[in-house]
């Protein structure tokens, strides 16, 4: 059977559009990449559950026409864990902000990775708290301006890829909204991967991060994602190893997935109690 041509209107809740995000906000590009990934994988809408917390990024769960839960700031992975354990057949996708995932939600993040539960976490990293007015996040890095750092930040940033790797995530990747097709392809692989997948997508908040740090408008910020990143294994990276690396860093299929491991424990316990 030939697949129907992609039309994002088949996958969104039309009534909530135009969406709430600012002009040029990169979050919408991540939304587009996610919808295309779902389409190309040929998934049915009711096979997917999108769980999100609170933040501009987290609004995404309102826009997609899948099963959705819009929960509380930082706890989307905890809710998704509950849903996944009760209905392991669902594809669990958790779009998150950098603050949501790694400030208030950092604890849930590392433990979901450690368990290797089959959830796809998409961290929409704009290096700021967009929704609440531009406070710095654990991803801002030092020497940046934010509402809460008028004289520049002093905190160092996490490296999401390194953190996810060391916490035990079995699929870890990074892309940017400039690289929309690459993002889509990586999301497809992440959804297909059985285990905890982390996809960091660098995205722009022109309203706060861009304006405060004089990084220009959305277009210039996207140009920056092109200039300051390089694909792993590329000549560009070889020539300039300090660039931010893009690509798939971990894809490990040997670690047991949490729901399956849990089922085995249940089976063992049932046998014992007979």
């Amino acid at each position: 059977m030939k697949q129907k041509e992609f039309n994002f209107k088949d996958y969104i809740r039309n009534r909530y559009f135009p969406h709430i995000w600012c002009p040029g906000c990169g979050h919408g590009i991540v939304l587009g990449a996610l919808l295309r990934a779902v389409h190309e994988l040929g998934l049915e809408k009711n096979e997917i559950v999108v769980t999100s917390g609170i933040g501009c990024s987290s609004r995404i769960s309102g826009y997609v026409d899948f099963h959705t839960l819009h929960t509380i700031h930082g706890r989307a992975l905890a809710f998704a864990t509950g849903v996944k354990l009760s209905k392991p057949s669902l594809k669990a996708i958790v779009p998150m902000g950098d603050g949501d995932a790694l400030a208030i939600g950092g604890n849930h993040f590392i433990h979901a990775a450690r368990r290797n539960i089959d959830i796809t976490a998409i961290v929409m990293n704009n290096r700021i708290y967009g929704m609440t007015g531009g406070q710095f996040s654990p991803l801002s890095g030092s020497g940046k301006k934010a509402t809460t750092a008028p004289y520049l930040t002093i905190d160092r940033a996490f490296d999401i890829v390194d953190l996810a790797k060391s916490a035990g995530a079995t699929f870890v990747a990074r892309s940017t909204v400039f690289h929309a097709t690459e993002s889509k392809d990586i999301i497809k692989k992440a959804i297909t991967h059985k285990g905890f997948s982390v996809v960091e997508i660098l995205t722009q908040c022109p309203t706060y991060y861009g304006r405060k740090n004089k990084e220009g408008d959305a277009i210039q910020m996207m140009e920056g994602f092109n200039t300051h990143t390089a694909k792993i294994g590329s000549k560009k990276l070889e020539n300039n190893p300090n660039l931010i690396q893009r690509g798939i860093f971990v894809e490990d299929k040997t670690v047991p997935e949490y729901c399956e491991a849990y089922d085995q424990i249940i089976a063992t316990a049932m046998k014992e109690s007979l």
Binding site: K4, G24, G28, G32
Partner: protein, 83 residues
């Protein structure tokens, strides 16, 4: 690929740019990154395909539009895969 028609000398595939001006927020991303300079702002500051005949249907505009406001529609004449 469909044959060029004499009446549409440069439009090989009959590409339509469906732009929802209610959804477009005028960020200019599609205009800036279009490799063929097909798009420009209209009087309202919304994206508009001013040189559609130059479009190569790369879909970069569609992929990068943060507002899902632009769709590239290909009207294929030899359309054998109709649903």
């Amino acid at each position: 690929m469909a044959k060029n028609k004499p009446s549409e000398p440069r439009t090989k595939n009959r590409i339509r740019h469906l732009i929802d001006t209610q959804w477009c927020k005028g960020c200019g991303i599609c205009i800036h990154f279009c490799p063929e300079k097909v798009l420009e702002f209209d009087e309202q500051g919304k994206a508009k395909a001013v040189r559609p005949e130059d479009c190569i249907a790369c879909r970069l505009c569609e992929l990068r539009c943060p507002d899902l406001a632009i769709q590239i529609i290909m009207d294929k004449e030899d359309n054998h895969d109709h649903p």
